[in-house]
Amino acid sequence: MEGIPLFLKYDVSIQGYERFWEGLKAGEVWTTKCKKCGTIYYPPQRDCPNCLSSDMEWIKLKENGKIMTFSIVKQKPQGFDQEDYVVGIVRNEDNVDLMCWLKGIPKVGKDVKLTTDGKRVIGVVV
């Protein structure tokens, strides 16, 4: 028997993270660093659980990185009904590990340039 569907539309707060989303539109990746203890957070955090401070600054992440690992998504989830994409983890020159979509032929250890497609971080294999 058919159940009554449940349709969940979400309104998500990104207050305090505008810099990140604006950066994405400009091809840049920004994140937060605690002014007090120096901890870098990626994903960015508005608060530092390490020293309990909320005095953070935004820093721009360097664009050179290396592929740590990746996977080619063949069977898509609801919401991503499109062609295959490659999800990767890249370690950049700031020693920050970022999830991204990889473009080009991926291989663990290969160099990538980090950029964006306006909506997400992209690692282009160089």
Partner: protein
């Protein structure tokens, strides 16, 4: 812990695509078995802990209907969730409630009906199992994708191959063919695994546990209750837990699960058992790479040598440490909330020497469960012994 805790009753439903039951009837299959196994009725149960992830079924708050159907009204104040380790979280809660003196006889039930939604919705739910905004929202990660990131890295760093991973699938299906409660009872070959449809490369369909419905239950009791009931106990010798970052990228390393290593260390130390003492283990093989990592995280194999242990047949019945002689999550099935308690069910059966065709030969009767939640977000390791 302050008090010894024993398992005195176990039950498990048949796992599979159970279009013949709703969540209430499915739960009852395991509860009924556990009550009969322990020789108890619902009146004897003082507290009932329910484990279910619940997102893939109409009963989004499934504890009250499952409790009502099973005659456990009044005793069921709590549901727990730890993604794919939900069943172990229920066991953990039940064990603590006995050890604290809150109750003498506690039932833990785990179940999920995962097939009420379609696969695309199921993947969207699993993909939200990490950090919604910073993973699924931007990158469309699926649950297989997360484990695939571990597989790719393990292959690159330690030379593990797709063939190695396939061996875990072959082994799982072989034992599941002997298990009447298993979801997938067909045998498979390495070649079939390698040729199966890629889901999130390098993970293929036959590297993956199926989407299953199922339930499991275990009854935990204090030493006093064991004595009064003249029960045949299997003792909880130790339990350990761990947890990790929501964002998989934040973990800094993708060849093993820190949560599982932490859980193992805590379980070994609290039980005074070492990896070489373990004779039988159920490990969390939701994907084939997970079994190989489990060997390493549990200390059965050196780092990077998990695949070798598998290739050498040391985790087969009567091997150095037998693993998943019930068919594993890969082939018995992995109804998330049920899995951790299904592991306890399988270890207890082995320790009681009631495992029939897959009975392992024990010397010291030491068994272990290794149950991972999410992609290493949670882990529980439980040491059991007679």
């Amino acid at each position: 812990m302050n008090k010894r805790v024993a398992v005195i009753g176990i039950g498990s439903s048949k796992f599979g695509r159970r279009n013949d039951v709703g969540i209430r009837e499915l739960t009852w299959e395991a509860v009924r078995e556990a009550l009969i196994d322990a020789g108890l009725t619902q009146k004897d149960i003082q507290l009932n802990v329910i484990g279910s992830t619940a997102y893939r079924g109409t009963e989004i708050y499934p504890a009250p209907p499952a409790s009502e159907y099973s005659g456990l009204v009044g005793k069921s104040p709590i549901r727990v969730e730890a993604a794919c380790a939900t069943g172990s979280a229920a066991a953990f809660t039940a064990i603590n409630a006995v050890a604290s003196g809150m109750a003498d006889i506690v039932l833990a039930i785990g179940f999920d009906k995962m097939t009420e939604v379609d696969t695309s919705a199921s993947l969207a739910i699993g993909g939200r199992g990490g950090n919604y905004l910073w993973e699924f929202h931007m990158y469309g990660t699926t649950f297989p994708t997360y484990y695939a990131l571990y597989a790719t890295r393990h292959m690159a760093v330690y030379g593990t191959t797709e063939e190695d991973m396939a061996l875990a699938s072959v082994k799982a299906h072989k034992y599941a063919s002997l298990n009447e409660k298993a979801h997938l009872r067909n045998k498979v070959t390495v070649e079939e695994v390698l040729k199966s449809r890629p889901i999130s490369w390098p993970i293929k369909l036959l590297d993956s546990s199926p989407i299953s419905d199922g339930s499991s239950a275990a009854i935990f009791a204090s030493e006093d209750a064991v004595r009064k009931l003249h029960a045949e106990p299997v003792w909880v010798k130790g339990i350990g837990y761990g947890s990790d970052t929501s964002s998989i990228a934040s973990r800094g390393e993708w060849t093993g699960l820190k949560a599982a290593k932490d859980a193992a260390a805590m379980a070994y130390s609290s039980s005074h058992v070492s990896p070489t003492d373990v004779e039988y283990a159920t490990v969390h093989d939701c994907f084939t790479i997970a079994e190989i990592m489990a060997y390493e995280d549990l200390g059965f194999a050196e780092k990077g040598k998990g695949a070798k242990l598998l290739r050498d047949g040391q985790t087969e019945k009567d091997g150095k440490v037998a693993v998943n002689l019930f068919g594993g999550l890969k082939a018995k099935g992995h109804p998330l909330g049920a899995t951790g308690l299904a592991m306890i069910y399988e270890v207890v059966k082995q320790l009681r020497e009631e495992a029939g065709p897959v009975q392992h030969s024990f010397k010291n009767y030491i068994g272990l469960t290794h149950n991972v939640g999410g992609t290493g977000h949670y882990a529980y390791v439980t040491v059991l012994g007679r």
